[in-house]
Amino acid sequence: MLGRGLKRKLNDCEETMNDFSSACDFNRNMPYSHQRQLVLNMCLNKLQSYKMLVEPNLHRSVLIANTVRQIQEETRKEASQLTGILYNDNACSNVIYPGNDSIENPVNLPCGINAVISRDSWPFESPVDSLMEVTDDDMSSAISSILKDLDFVEDISPSQTPASCLYEQPKPVESGCKVGDKQDIKGGECVFGSFEITSSISYLKDLSVDDIFEDIDTSMYDSDFSFSSLISAKVQPAEEPLKVLSMCNTQSNNNLQACRTDLNDLDHIMEILVGS
């Protein structure tokens, strides 16, 4: 029997949000990309804490999900601009990926961007996707420095990164894998370098926006199955932008510390997710 005094309380999820409390209210010096990352982190945290609530509030969920979408759209636009720059400036317009016709593109940096664009076909992206997109696009300064480096890495002969070997990806050519090489050169200090973490991303996939509505509409359960199967097909590209992220991390000195905290937050989110 439900006692009247026993009510669902928001306290639990409020506590988890305290992690970000120091970061709220953008100070004017904070770079826009950082602000965006902060908002996105909060969105993800809120969406996740939703699952713990007994009764989801559809209105709130939709507003949060739309915020994630908006950020995603923004980063997608930025990414497509970036691709334009990349392809024009470096004249590597016709990158050939043998045996690979679409999204599942193993090449690291351009792939990260590529995937962002081609995922337009993905009907309803999970916040995780956008998170990854943001984290790589976010550091546009870092990426631009990578782009500069592309001139240099283009001379290096292509080879596969260990991670893409694991997934038996088609052999990447051109710039992307060179970035991957660069990652190796930079050493193993990449936060997301380890396999366990990359594999735990699949848990993050649970955060997809459609899943939020799952509790509300039972007819969703059917589509949910197909969704999870789709997810498994997408695990491979999912990890790629994260590598880029770690790249960015090591490459941009000015953002380094900030990125670290972001990644710690990510870790934290993932811990919650794995725990749930």
Partner: protein, 447 residues
Amino acid sequence: MAGVGGGNDFQWCFSQVKGAIDEDVAEADIISTVEFNCSGDLLATGDKGGRVVIFQREQENKSRPHSRGEYNVYSTFQSHEPEFDYLKSLEIEEKINKIRWLPQQNAAHFLLSTNDKTIKLWKISERDKRVEGYNLKDDDGRLRDPFRITSLRVPILKPMDLMVEASPRRIFANAHTYHINSISVNSDHETYLSADDLRINLWHLEITDRSFNIVDIKPANMEELTEVITAAEFHPHHCNVFVYSSSKGTIRLCDMRDSALCDRHSKFFEEPEDPSSRSFFSEIISSISDVKFSNSGRYMMTRDYLSVKVWDLNMESRPVETYQVHEYLRSKLCSLYENDCIFDKFECCWNGSDSAIMTGSYNNFFRMFDRNTRRDITLEASRESSKPRAILKPRKVCTGGKRKKDEINVDSLDFNKKILHTAWHPTDNIIAVAATNNLYIFQDKVN
């Protein structure tokens, strides 16, 4: 006119406060809706514990002029109980989301109350006489053998202490999959609508086993859902017209004569977004939390997170008036998002002559706007100023570094004290303001 400008006509003064003074507020005692009836003699509140409390205005007493129009408890009853949805394994809260009075037709009063899922029609009636003098039962209550009743006794009515009874007359259940956010009684006095996040249903007040779905915005694929219904209301005079607001800041006006399912609106009210003020939270703060037709039926008012807008029903492109409620919070949106305050659903109300509007804010502040003079005032519902007939001092929030006397800094506002629900007496300058578990009643003081 309505004392909004301060000084010219009258000032607001404290009249009463209801509810416990205790600092430790029980969740169940938090007031979740406030509503005057059509005459203004009754004032109903609903709370998170599923209770409805009705206050009645005392008759003016010449010997005690100061007690003019005070409201005292008339009836209290448990409208909704916590339930459990076994199919979905979800708890259904007993919290009263809305109360709407039906126009009075006889000595009894009727109201609709709703929680997230179930709407109930309550009859509130008085009894001050009881029937006495039956000889059908023994003293111990057992029915007597009819053969032993030899005399004919006519029962008589005897006066007794006034008793107010609240009895559930109709229960309208199982029609809403999502959370009911609005109910609105139609001007035909026979039907009403109920709106949840994705659908609006039309009911007949006498019929509980069926309702008509008049709006359904649920996409075939829930993954494509980007918009929800946030409030809905019938036009005060045209029984075929209703409006509903959305989480994207738009309002749709529908005419039920068009078709049975009003999926296509007749009018679409939307203000173009100002690109200069765009932020991550633009959509969230544009979400409409309340919509109310003016008493005249010419205008409607919408409340979003930072402002109140008055729309002329004849102009869809932009509101005719926009009032900033707490613009100083614009720089605080990130923390308000973080602590979930940005999702607070502030309501708004008109005064009886449609010349002034009122809505709530944080720190137990509430705002009034005079539509004629465009003047506004911030008042506070607090125990400190709750001496009888004490005049409410206008409050001011400062944003800059320098704080003048009697001003309060944005950073010291208490976001746990929020005024979401307010009501204005249909004819007089009496307002009811719900501040967490307390109900404040303020009246005008003519200078």
